[in-house]
């Protein structure tokens, strides 16, 4: 199948592969150790594991955009902040 119209590049393929892997990992985690009932964290709203992944990914997108706007590329620093942000979200939100 010719996918040249989608204009794939290696970095974008890695980007989507990481997001796909994260979702797959969450599915495996849920199957192995069910525990997706909502909990109330520091932001005072109920979240499940899926919600926390969504918040982490959405927040990471904005962290990268903010980094790009104020500091410019490369985004390795932003990636570090994103990982820290995701850990904090999963622990406290």
């Amino acid at each position: 199948m010719d996918l040249s119209w989608m204009a794939w590049t290696t970095p974008t393929a890695i980007f989507f592969a990481v997001i796909g892997s994260l979702i797959a990992l969450m599915c495996v985690w849920e199957a192995v150790s069910p525990g997706g009932q909502p909990r109330k964290g520091i932001l005072q709203f109920e979240t499940t594991r899926g919600d926390r992944l969504f918040v982490s990914l959405l927040g990471s997108a904005f962290i990268n955009l903010a980094w790009l706007a104020w500091a410019g590329p490369p985004l390795w620093g932003a990636l570090g902040v994103c990982v820290l942000f995701a850990v904090l979200v999963f622990l406290f939100v």
Binding site: M6, T9, L58, L65, G72
Partner: protein, 297 residues
């Protein structure tokens, strides 16, 4: 507490496949475009994050975004209270119900471009009923030349087109309230305001979440009506993000910058919709919890 069984989500898989073809694959393509430059003939050149930097620093993008936020804010401030008020005023029994429902549904059945054309003609000073009447009354109104007039025209048009949706959603929430609630309120001697505040508004909360989300997303993504009525003018006064995006992608054939801009646009819609949804469903959950706690006492 027993953990939730999330295996039922497997039944959602067929829909996910459908969404993949209609939304995810196009979105992936846009991401791919956003990091490349194209000169046509399906040839692409890697530029990295250049287009994102350009968009984030662009005054044109900032201005369009501010116009969009202002437009959506005004639309929500008008359409939601107005929709609730009209729904409250609609009859609940008798022949009037069908008449009101049909009248309310009519604007929703008209295609966007037709709505734009109707208002473009309706508001014209030379031949339009509204524009001509205002001119005859001595009102200095010309939506093609005055920024404020153009904005008022677009807002009134959107309110005319979409308030019905809010009305129908609120009405569906209102008719689902059992009579027992109203009987209890009458026995307690509750005022009209108390009935609205403690019975009708909480019962409408779920449909209001949907109404606010739909109206926010629709108004934030509005394209056809302003494009037909004002074409983004006068000057750039009504150039919203969608109009700017189309000009960039199709008018200038700048696919890379347009893709980067559309992704930023998408993320903004996603985060605002999520905040709306979370805040409103959270209030809903709290009221359910409070209700249970109250019932248990």
């Amino acid at each position: 507490m027993k953990p939730w069984n999330n295996k039922a989500w497997l039944f959602v898989l067929p829909v996910l496949v459908l969404v993949a073809f209609s939304a995810i694959i196009p979105l992936m393509t846009v991401v791919n475009y956003s990091v490349q430059d194209s000169f046509g003939n399906n040839e692409f050149y890697w530029v990295g994050l250049e287009w994102f930097q350009e968009v984030l620093a662009s005054e044109r993008f900032h201005n369009s975004l501010m116009r969009n936020l202002l437009f959506s804010g005004i639309i929500l401030l008008i359409e939601i209270p107005l929709g609730i008020a009209v729904a409250l005023a609609m009859p609940r029994r008798g022949w009037g119900v069908s008449v009101c429902l049909v009248l309310m549904a009519l604007p929703l059945l008209i295609p966007w471009n037709v709505v734009g054309t109707i208002w473009q003609v309706f508001a014209r000073v030379d031949i339009g009923l509204l524009g001509h009447t205002l001119a005859a009354m001595g009102v200095d109104y010309n939506y093609t030349q005055d920024t404020l007039d153009a904005w008022i025209t677009l807002i009134v048009m959107d309110v005319w087109h979409w308030t019905s949706l809010v009305v129908l959603l609120c009405y569906s929430g209102l008719v689902s309230i059992p009579d027992a609630y109203y009987q209890a309120a009458r026995i307690d001697g509750a005022s009209r305001w108390a009935v609205f505040r403690y019975i009708q508004l909480p019962k409408m909360r779920r449909v209001l979440v949907i109404a606010v989300l739909l109206r926010f997303m629709d108004s934030f993504m509005i394209y056809t009506e302003p494009f037909v009525v004002t074409g983004g003018g006068p000057g750039n006064a009504t150039t919203f993000l969608s109009i700017d995006l189309v000009q960039m992608a199709i008018g200038q054939f700048d696919l890379g910058p347009a893709a980067a801009m559309s992704l930023v646009y998408f993320l903004i819609i996603l985060v605002i919709s999520w905040v709306f949804y979370t805040v409103m469903t959270q209030q809903d959950n709290e009221s359910v919890t409070d209700g249970r706690a109250g019932g248990g006492q």
